[in-house]
């Protein structure tokens, strides 16, 4: 209760209980809803604001704006170059993964089965043609049995 009495400088309005006056933490921070502590120069500018705004110079108007708002819309909406770092990181780790895969092939995996050998493959192909695999539209359909070659 003492804190709320002391902070009656903020205004005649009662301090709502959602604003924790003692902590800078929480969802509704008091700094977001009240003016910051003003320097003497800013205080006199605030007084001048009560008069005609035509009398204010551009610099004074900008200064008043900055008291209330940290960033302008342009500053708030500006993009960053972060995406370049992200894409670079993606490529780097894909590359690293490639190195890991190459190392695995050399040092982890054993030899491929003998069925991959050239000579074996030739025998396999001949066997497929001999038993007429896919004779209508598939494999053997493309083999010319008379001339012993692939159909053109």
């Amino acid at each position: 209760m003492l804190a709320t009495r002391a902070l009656s400088l903020i205004g005649k309005r009662a301090i709502s209980t959602s604003v924790c006056v003692r902590g800078g933490h929480g969802v509704a921070k008091v700094e977001d809803y009240a003016l910051p502590n003003l320097s003497a120069e800013q205080k006199s500018l605030k007084e001048k604001e009560k008069g005609s705004w035509v009398a204010l110079s551009n610099e004074e108007k900008i200064a008043l704006y900055r008291i209330s708002f940290k960033q302008s819309f342009a500053e708030m909406n500006q993009g960053s170059g972060e995406w370049k770092s992200v894409v670079g990181g993606i490529f780097f780790f894909i590359g690293f993964t490639g190195l890991v895969v190459l190392w695995q092939r050399k040092y982890v995996y054993g030899p491929v089965p003998h069925t991959f050998e050239e000579e074996y493959k030739e025998k396999e192909l001949q066997r497929m043609l001999d038993m007429r695999m896919g004779p209508v539209q598939g494999f053997s359909a493309h083999w010319d049995y008379e001339n012993k070659q692939w159909k053109k």
Binding site: K61, L64, Y65, S68, F73
Partner: protein, 145 residues
């Protein structure tokens, strides 16, 4: 003529571009329109005048100004110049130039890709801006980085 073209509130949803040039029929009764709820549909004119009245309250306080503006900016539309005029005058009553400039920035942002809306608003608000001495963000150079 130009005023008639932009009559009523600018809807920013998918049909937005079309609605800018659409001429609005006068609503006498809402029965002809397709309602998906049982409530009466508020016309654009009623919406506008409700908001003008909100900001015209003589003893509007700073919280109510912020609340009103944040709610208005939350809608899928760019407010009519008369609503903004009322809000800017409320800023004047509250001696808050920063909020007045912020309102102009916000409506420019609301217009999004429709680049012709903001110059129209400034054109309509020029007398008020000159009278109250509110500079546009462009004049102050804060629209750029």
């Amino acid at each position: 003529m130009c005023g008639n073209m932009f009559r009523a509130v600018f809807r920013l949803s998918a049909s937005g571009a079309r609605s800018l040039t659409r001429s609005r029929p006068c609503y006498s009764a809402p029965l002809a329109s397709r309602c998906y709820s049982h409530g009466k549909v508020e016309t654009d004119e009623e919406f506008d005048s409700r908001w003008v009245t909100y900001f015209s309250k003589p003893d509007l306080d700073a919280w109510e100004l912020r609340k009103g503006m944040n709610t208005l900016i939350g809608y899928d539309l760019v407010p009519e110049p008369k609503i903004l005029d009322s809000a800017l005058r409320a800023c004047r009553r509250l001696n808050d130039l920063a909020s007045a400039i912020r309102i102009l920035e916000a409506v420019k942002d609301k217009a999004g890709p429709h680049k012709d809306i903001y110059p129209y608003l400034i054109q309509e608000l020029k007398p008020t801006l000159t009278e109250l001495g509110i500079s546009t963000p462009e004049e102050l150079g804060i629209d750029k980085l």
